[in-house]
Amino acid sequence: MSIKAKPNLMPQDLATLKVEELNPLTPYVISRQATINIGTIGHVAHGKSTVVKAISGVLTVRFTSEFKRNITIKLGYANAKIFKCENPECHRPGCYKSYRSNTDDNPICERPGCGGKMVLLRHVSFVDCPGHDVLMATMLNGAAVMDAALLLIAGNESCPQPQTSEHIAAIEIMNLKNIIILQNKIDLVKEAAAQEQYGQILKFVQGTIAENAPIIPISAQMKYNIDVICEYIVKKIPIPLRDFTSDPHMIVIRSFDVNKPGSRVDEIKGGVAGGSILKGVLRLGDEIEVRPGVISKELDGKIKCTPILSKIVSLFAEENELQYAVPGGLIGVGTKIDPTLCRADRLVGQVLGSVGKLPQIYVSLEVNFFLLRRLLGVRSEGEKQSKVKKLSKEDTLMVNIGSTSTGCRVFAVKGDLAKLDLLTPVCTQVGEKIALSRRVDKTWRLIGWGKIEAGTLLQN
């Protein structure tokens, strides 16, 4: 079974696939799928979307949320391929170039008079952060969802701006060690001012996780030094270690019904799940399971949950079709699942993997918890933070388990152990970490952490 190949993308062949030989640079993989995730961190006004567009060629959707012309841009994801020209006459950094995800693997070098062939070195995925749902999963499980970060600072403003400290904090939370600082809008200032700001940035990042990060002056608008960013992505970001050999495990962050309403039965396509593979490899034709699955109420009022069994009928990353998908950038999985079950993101927070290999489904948990003394600082200075009340019976809380969020109700507390009834079944395991939040002054506030010690399993 060979893929309906886009011309000039490397063919993938399941028959010869040896997962133990895969790595995040395998040509057959990066021809079609991004394998390195790079967070983009910075204030929107500093040109985050222009930078991503300059590198990836993907223009992201714009929104306004206020009548003020304060544009907030929701970036989401954009993928890019990074190439280097083979011609020895082509010098750095000009020999590095990035193109969209669906570009051929060997484009011709654009440098006038060069005509050399370019070689694909990396396929990266830019993820807008913070404020992303994989953030919590990262923190709780230490899974490196993000491999590196681009931190954006506007060259025409003094550094640090208040948000810059927050952004450094975000990088630290995500435990990102590989950072590239971009001093953007350099075209708007004189050289002396740029030099002065460079000094300010160096001083500012001292002692933080970004201390040794390279600082690149760029102009995303004028496409100046974009080649340097590409070069640094190749040279400064280590190849992440990925687990390709375990049973596949994907967290679902989207699910869709892609059918035209009123389609005939024989035309209907199965549901599509979108997400990120944490480990293992998914292949076309794989028999899969989605847990917890379909949740329904039975006649006696009890809630039943049926894991979904299905088969992978298509795999894609951006518009590239795949024969197999690996951990890294977001992928889409076409299945034979009844599409109405996938409609409107109904499978978000569930997990997809091999039949019978996914963790078990819990409906109540016993956790070893520790509560904060006070809420963490979000209030203005001077005001004291509210104390965190002890957990009490019947409290309703938000619980984050991996990439799942749900409600729970405390039904018993003893010392540093608590028993929690979950509002919806969750696929997890003993030893996993959870975060607990409570409604305080009408917003959800983090009150503590916990670890799963035991639980009640759902009956299948």
Partner: protein, 377 residues
């Protein structure tokens, strides 16, 4: 009436869009719904930080065996974690809390006493009955909303991961967890001294639950009684069949607007959300005001209502770099990107505030560092 509006120069626009102000007029072209006026006690219930449910309120599952229910049966933690007392409470009951913490207890109690009122479902039995009857009338499954908003941001607090509710508790869990609902609650101030049973300007709307296809939901922008923009409602998903169906949908919506909406709504500029069925029949889902709190989706408010935009220095600069054209002729926008998976933009609400906006996060860093260190042990 016990209510006063908050200061908002676009509040008049908003008022017209309250569900109870348009439902009767558009009954024939929208999904059937029940409107329940809300007494003050229920508004207090929604406002209160007290968020507790008794045994039996939460869903009951079919389980293997439930040792956890046994109050004498507790695990022994596999690892002993001793969190830093600077940040974490001691969980043992007999240990004295430090002096520092006792000082401000009273002060805090006073500050937020109105958020602390403990109200149980049994304190508003009549309303509870009305809700149960309405659910039955709607066929057993409903979508709840207040005057303007549905608690879409809180679907993680629902067993079915949707707005589908079958019991009053399902409804209360969603309403009490939602920032959208809070936003609605801020629109009228209810005097504290009013009696619990006083009717407020707030209503609970229960609409018959439908498994709608998100690809066929559209937001339409009307300016001075003229339809000027239509946007795909779900802006994070690409549906490949929409391109071919675009003209058909456009015609269906134009006809619907001309016949059923035009000059019938109490305002000349507004937005409405609609649903196009497979037979190109159009239903109104909702009306929304021309207001900063309404999402402009695939348009910019600058393109639709440039006269309302207040510029500041930064935005003037942005305008110069990237000028925006005013829309004068009807434009229909759908997501054009190819098949790529993007996160749903509303997913942010699944995290606590601290992780959503990471401001002032020095403490968080220290905590996480510790947390990670402990996990490694």
């Amino acid at each position: 009436m016990s209510a006063t509006s908050t200061i908002d120069k676009f509040f008049e626009n908003k008022k017209q869009c309250q569900f109870q102000n348009w439902y009767d007029k558009f009954k024939a072209v929208t999904f059937s719904s029940v409107i329940i006026p809300l007494p003050k006690i229920f508004i207090d219930y929604l406002q209160s930080d007290d968020f507790s449910f008794g045994n039996g309120d939460f869903p009951e599952f079919r389980v293997e065996d439930n040792d956890l229910l046994d109050d004498n049966n507790w695990s022994t933690p596999t690892t002993i974690t001793k969190p830093d007392p600077k940040y974490y409470q001691s969980n043992s009951d007999n240990e004295e809390e430090s002096d520092d913490d006792d000082d401000d207890d009273e002060e805090e109690e006073e500050n937020s006493s109105k958020n602390k009122r403990v109200i149980k479902q049994t304190d508003f039995p009549e309303l509870l009955d009305k809700i149960k009857t309405a659910i039955e009338k709607m066929g057993g499954t409903v979508i709840p909303k207040l005057n303007w908003s549905a608690p879409k941001d809180a679907i993680w607090m629902n067993t079915y991961n949707s707005l589908k509710c079958t019991t009053p508790t399902d409804i209360f869990l969603l309403l009490k967890s939602s920032d959208y609902i809070n936003h609605d609650l801020l629109q009228y101030k209810i005097k504290e001294e009013e009696d619990d049973n006083t009717t407020t300007p707030f209503v609970l709307v229960l609409r018959k639950w439908q498994n709608l296809h998100p690809s066929m939901e559209f937001r339409c922008y009307v300016k001075d009684n003229k339809l000027i923009g239509i946007s795909q409602r779900d802006t994070s998903t690409y549906f490949n069949f929409l391109k071919d169906k675009k003209d058909k949908i456009l015609n269906a919506i134009i006809n619907f607007y001309d016949n059923s909406i035009k000059e019938k709504f109490n305002s000349s500029s507004f937005t409405f959300d609609c649903y196009v069925t497979k037979d190109d029949k159009v239903w109104v889902i909702d009306f929304n005001p021309i207001h900063p709190s309404t999402e402009s989706l695939l348009f910019l408010w600058d393109e639709l209502f440039p006269e309302l935009i207040e510029d500041d220095e930064e935005s003037l600069q942005a305008k110069k770099e990237d000028p925006i054209k005013e829309i004068t002729e009807l434009e229909f926008r759908i997501v054009q990107d190819e098949n790529s998976i993007k996160p749903n933009l509303s997913m942010k609400s699944r995290l606590p505030l601290e992780l959503m906006n990471l401001s002032n996060s020095d403490n968080i860093n220290e905590l996480l560092q510790q947390f990670n260190d402990q996990n490694k042990k």
